[in-house]
Symmetry: C2
Subunit: 79 residues, 2 copies
């Protein structure tokens, strides 16, 4: 797989993850600020990860899931 297609695949995966977090956040009725506070993550980080611009760590994936009251696995479904 070429470097370019690799990069595209990674961007698509991060975008899918960001979209999933946003979906759960909205259905939980939380603002980005409220999610960030509950997860112990900076608000601007939540905003950029929802836009698919972050290679989020395991610790933060689990902190986000806890704050959204979903299983961490649910944030990766179908990705």
């Amino acid at each position: 797989m070429t470097h370019a297609s690799d990069k595209l695949r990674l961007q698509r995966q991060r975008g899918a993850f960001g979209h999933r977090v946003r979906e759960h956040r909205l259905s939980a009725g939380l603002s980005q600020e409220e999610l960030a506070e509950a997860a112990g993550i900076h608000r601007t980080y939540v905003s950029s990860l929802e836009r698919g611009q972050r290679n989020v760590s395991l610790d933060n994936i689990i902190a986000l899931a806890r704050a959204l009251k979903v299983d961490a696995a649910q944030l990766l479904e179908g990705i």
Copy 2:
């Protein structure tokens, strides 16, 4: 939650993830070296993440899942 209990929780989570990767690797009949190569990750990184010593990134979680031929969500089930 105190800093110490936070640290313990993170270690427990990383350990559970490492254990899950190891389980899938063994049932796929792969050595750490073979998994590392298939996932495009260094062998020593696979060894330390299986021991729960790594805060693995989203990109690497997905690369590991692809190499193990499982969904990324399966690597986070129950964590």
